[in-house]
Symmetry: C2
Subunit: 222 residues, 2 copies
């Protein structure tokens, strides 16, 4: 049996220094919790974990270099014992699907209060899962059960090629150009795009772009 720990160790991963320090400040009000580190992107995160593993990782979903979702998968695979609380500003089904299927333990929104943050930490500390009440309002029970049935996100149902083509579609290329980029016939591009439209039940590329951006499949870079 393990001796009871003095602190519950927490690592903060968020690319916004201000937010990170704000959260650290909030957490520091509770003497039972201890922030053992902060990282600003996915690379730093993995680097940090090589030497030290926190009990809880509070992770922003939109980080540079490694998206929050990918980070969840990687961290859970490498260090299954580390609990992960996703912290996001997106009230979005797809983010939720992504995060949960990737293995997150909790899902908190920045719209939530600081009390909610401490509650989320407490629940995860107790081995339970946590879902933001702000989010659960919008999620009907069937959606909750859907994720429990390991339903994957729409993006994950895409094939490799379809994902490649989707990214190029979002960049506004024509079939001809995309064909040149991928060394394929423009007709093949047409085929993949048609499949994308069919799979998502959409009518045109603009809808695809909106969908992809909205659901975080692509990051609209500066």
């Amino acid at each position: 049996m393990e001796a009871k720990q003095r602190y519950y160790t927490i690592l903060l991963a968020d690319d916004h220094t201000l937010i990170r320090h704000g959260i650290r400040n909030l957490i520091s009000n509770n003497p039972a919790l201890k922030v053992i580190g902060e990282v600003g992107d996915g690379e730093e995160l993995l680097e940090f974990l090589k030497t030290t593993q926190p009990e809880l990782l509070i992770l922003d979903i939109s980080m540079p270099k490694l998206t929050g979702i990918e980070a969840v998968s990687r961290v859970k695979k490498l260090y299954p014992a580390v609990k992960i609380l996703m912290l996001t500003m997106h009230k979005n089904k797809q983010y939720f699907y992504h995060a949960m299927s990737a293995g997150a333990d909790g899902y908190l929104m920045k719209e939530d209060s600081d009390e909610e943050l401490l509650l989320a930490i407490k629940r995860i500390q107790d081995g339970k899962s946590y879902l933001s009440p702000f989010l659960s309002q919008d999620f009907a029970d069937d959606v909750i059960s859907a994720y429990r049935n390991n339903r994957s996100s729409p993006f994950e149902t895409l094939t490799k090629r379809e994902r490649e083509v989707l990214n190029l579609v979002v960049e506004g290329h024509t079939s001809k150009v995309m064909g040149e980029i991928l060394c394929l016939s423009p007709r093949t591009i047409d085929h993949h795009r048609a499949n994308l439209l069919r799979k998502f039940d959409m009518k045109n590329s603009v809808d695809l772009v909106n969908f992809a951006v909205r659901n975080g499949f692509v990051t609209p870079s500066d």
Copy 2:
């Protein structure tokens, strides 16, 4: 002459409770500063200002109901004495143009450190303007001088109709449907869209969507 005030009064406007409280926490470390209120959206902001005006308004650029930019214009028009520090997560030229031409006094990024926040407040308190060093790295001097010459954002050069059409284009409609929505000939829609493409030097609607989303002309709703 006014008596020197005990506190520098600050109002926080941000739709994310967690961020808001984090900033309040950071500010509270400085006894010369006092957060006199928090609001979560543009309506609350204007309502609050009816009764009390802070010396400084710290404003997130992406708020519901009233965008940060619009809020700056309204607040500066109604209460010119209120200084405004924009707090944004977007490292983006257009946001900067928007904010500055709308009358913001400072532009801070969430990537910046808390020391930077206090520095920004200090500078504005002293009647100076503030620009995030994180941002200024990316902004060449000519860009800085450009905004000083009251150069407006690309979006502001659009006509009313063009903005309407742009919004519909972003929603993925065909010319035919857009014509029905606006009670215009699809040919007229084509004309406006062609002007949009020409004005922004772009080739297709997907590019327009990316541009509009990236620059905050439209808000990709959930």
